[in-house]
């Protein structure tokens, strides 16, 4: 019995102890559960989520209100609910990011768009956009949103409302053949560097005296690298990532060096899309925090480093708020690409508009719109005049030199001059320019003045050699006619100059016409300057039409001046 009584007592004590422990455990459990619940609630339904949910609820309700959808000033977010679909501009040939193959769209950006549509609870209507059309299509209301590899910079901020936080980040990289030793800007002189018009890094590349070749679409660059049209190509690393997955491409080419990083932003119209932009800002925050962007990146095998950094950032309590997208401590600022306008840019804009209305031709004068373009333009004109005058003087000087040498009594001098002339005649002018530039650069470091000097020497030598040959032939014919008479060699030479006047003038004109080719070796004349301006501004048609008119006008002026010079030379024949 005692054992029984003891047992129940001991059991009762045990029960009390177990009960107490159980109660403590239960309370601890409840406390823990509550803690997790609160923490979870704070995490899953924090301020951005609540603000987004409220915004979408209000927009949906407004769209359901009779007559609201017909309102002209209705926000695009409401209109999306009215139409029950969002119209999104995407690219079609940007591998890993947005491609369209046999009607099937795929890529990181396509997945992002689908995630947005799911969150909004609407369908998607895709529209094809290109680099040149993505912002105009927003402005003319062809699309509600653009998700199209668009770098966010201060210049574009004036044309579209960028969604923050940014959904990706890229860096412009210079890609070229593996066996080509290029490690920095010092190595790109004289090489064709292919770029796409409007690339945010073009202004920097231009300032480093790279010889730019312009393309409308990035898709052409790998092919042009492969067929060696381009020695180097500059484009976002995100673009080349795909091509480097091809073993053949990776074996032939490598990244030489990179430029500044640019954040990519989705864009909506500047007006009438405030609520849509706000909703997308919040959604973008949430997508970073919850790893939606990261999962899409992983699924499409693109670089994840930036997105991982962003995920950490947007999980921080100070960023994970409904005002996080406006917090400079959380969002990345747009890259700075604003070009200072000229003091007369407003007048130029008004003239362009007036001309467009009058003729229907969309005249664009980018060289007059911004200060860097204007300075390049002025330098180009001044350098062109220096080049033309220098080339004319050099041609005349070399002509006299070669003429005198080929008419010399000394056989060695005659044959040397003749040999040099034959070599110069046998070399295409472009090759002569390159040879002259290579020799001069062996002694001087590159500068625009060195390039101009090289061009003056090369063009002067080529044309002067030919004109000198004509002078020497004229000299021989004058000598043959005057055999036996007592005329000094100097007088004979002057007479030969008169006789060869037509040829001398022809080669002077030829030299002036050849000056634009100096742009090939980096001489900063007008053609080179306007090509640089075209790389970061619109209006290529006007720009190249102007340069054609400029040079044709210059040559006509040179022809007129040379004809007067020819008459002067021909008068010399009468005087002697």
């Amino acid at each position: 019995m005692s054992s029984r009584s003891v047992e129940p007592r001991r059991c009762a004590e045990c029960f009390r102890l177990g009960d107490c422990l159980r109660v403590v455990a239960v309370w601890l459990g409840i406390a823990g559960a509550l803690l997790c619940l609160f923490a979870g609630a704070a995490y899953a339904a924090g301020p951005p989520d609540a603000a987004l949910a409220q915004l979408l609820r209000d927009a949906r309700a407004e769209a359901d209100t009779p007559g609201a959808c017909a309102q002209p000033a209705v926000d695009r977010l409401v209109r999306i609910y009215c139409a029950r679909q969002i119209r999104v501009g995407v690219r079609t040939e940007y591998p890993l990011f947005a491609t369209l193959n046999e009607g099937v769209r795929s890529g990181y950006e396509i997945d992002v768009v689908r995630a947005i549509a799911r969150r909004l609870g609407v369908g998607v209507e895709f529209a094809n956009v290109k680099a040149a059309t993505r912002i105009p299509m927003l402005a003319d209301d062809s699309v509600d949103l653009v998700v199209a590899t668009m770098g966010d910079n201060t210049q574009r901020e004036t044309q579209a409302r960028f969604i923050r936080p940014h959904y990706y980040q890229s860096q412009t990289v210079i890609v070229g053949p593996r066996d080509l030793a290029v490690t920095g800007w010092g190595d790109v002189h004289g090489l064709n560097l292919c770029v796409t018009v409007g690339n945010g890094s073009n202004a920097e590349m231009m300032s480093r005296h790279a010889r730019l070749m312009l393309f409308d679409d990035a898709e052409a660059l790998p092919d042009r690298l492969a067929d060696q049209t381009c020695t180097l190509a500059a484009q976002d690393n995100s673009f080349f990532d795909y091509y480097f997955t091809d073993p053949g491409f990776a074996a032939r080419f490598s990244v030489k060096f990179g430029l500044a990083q640019v954040p990519w932003g989705m864009g909506v119209a500047l007006t009438g899309a405030d609520r849509l932009a706000r909703a997308l800002d919040l959604m973008s925050q949430i997508f970073h925090r919850d790893g939606v962007f990261l999962a899409a990146a992983h699924a499409n095998r693109i670089g994840e480093r930036f997105l991982r950094q962003q995920q950490v950032r947007w999980r921080r309590p100070e960023c994970n708020t409904d005002t996080g997208s406006n917090d400079p401590g959380c969002v990345i600022p747009p890259s700075n690409a604003t070009l200072q306008p000229t003091r007369f840019s407003a007048g130029v804009g008004a003239f362009e508009a007036w001309f467009g209305r009058l003729t229907g031709f969309p005249l664009q004068l980018p060289m007059l719109q911004t200060q860097p373009a204007w300075l390049l333009f002025l330098d180009g004109i001044v350098n062109s005049f220096i080049l033309i005058v220098g080339v004319l003087v050099a041609t005349l000087g070399f002509a006299l030199l070669f003429g005198a040498a080929m008419a010399s009594r000394w056989r060695l001098l005659r044959w040397t001059a003749r040999g040099i002339t034959i070599v110069l005649q046998s070399s295409p002018i472009l090759l002569t320019l390159v040879i002259a530039a290579a020799i001069i650069r062996a002694f001087f470091t590159y500068s625009p003045a060195v390039a101009l000097g090289s061009a003056i020497v090369a063009l002067g030598l080529t044309n002067g050699g030919n004109a000198g040959q004509a002078i020497a032939e004229a000299y021989l014919s004058v000598c043959a006619e005057r055999a036996g008479s007592h005329i000094s060699r100097t007088d004979l030479f002057v007479r030969a100059l008169s006789r060869a006047a037509t040829q001398i003038v022809a080669f002077l004109i030829n030299a002036a016409k050849g000056t634009p080719i100096a742009s090939f070796i980096g001489a900063p004349e007008l053609l080179s300057a306007l090509t640089d301006i075209s790389s970061f501004a619109s209006g290529r048609a006007t720009t190249y039409t102007l340069v054609l008119i400029f040079y044709t006008g210059i040559v006509i002026a040179v022809v007129w001046s040379c004809r007067r010079f020819q008459r002067f030379l021909e008068r010399g024949r009468l005087l002697v």
């Binding site: 090489l191 070399s427 295409p428 472009l430 004509a470 634009p516 080719i517 190249y544």
Partner: protein, 217 residues
Amino acid sequence: MTALEQLLGSNFLPGFLTGMSVNFEIAALALALGLVLGAVLACGRFCGRFIAAAAGSIVALMRAAPTFVVMFFLLNALPRGGGFSGVMIVAVSLVPYTAAYVSDSVIDALRVLRAGSRLGGLLILPNIARAFFVLVMSSGAGAAIGVPEGITVLLREAVKMPSLGEKLALFMIGVACFGIPLQAGFAVIRLVQRRLGRTAPRSGTKLAHGGALPSEP
């Protein structure tokens, strides 16, 4: 083994010669187009006063338009290069020069023919042949827009040469490859001109071009 020796041991020369064939192709295209346009303009210059003045002005403008600028104009000012290939852009950019030259040559030949010298009129043929060789040399401008002609091939390899000496040696190979057909062509033309000149002593047509090359475009 130097880089140049390695290059010459590789398939550089066949590649370079293939590139040079593109230069000849461009020159042939430019000459064909220039002949047609030049002949039309020459006929225009013999028509009534207004048409003659218009044709003369067009020829003057064509003579003054620098080929290199015309090439960039075609490439950049026309939407997608006017649908032309790189080869065609270079060829078309050479047409203003060719047409102006052909127009002048046709007019000279007609004047000599009217003066009664049939053989003198035939001097237009060597003059056209001379223009062809000038066009071959000028087509090297295509390197600036990446057309795979001879100079492009040469410059591609030159950037890989480590020393200036090797670069210059490579360039000299290029000069020789362009120079030999050019000088041979001019020698034949001079021979033909001399023969025609001997049989047509009254002809004054374009013999002024004898000796020195005609101006490049």
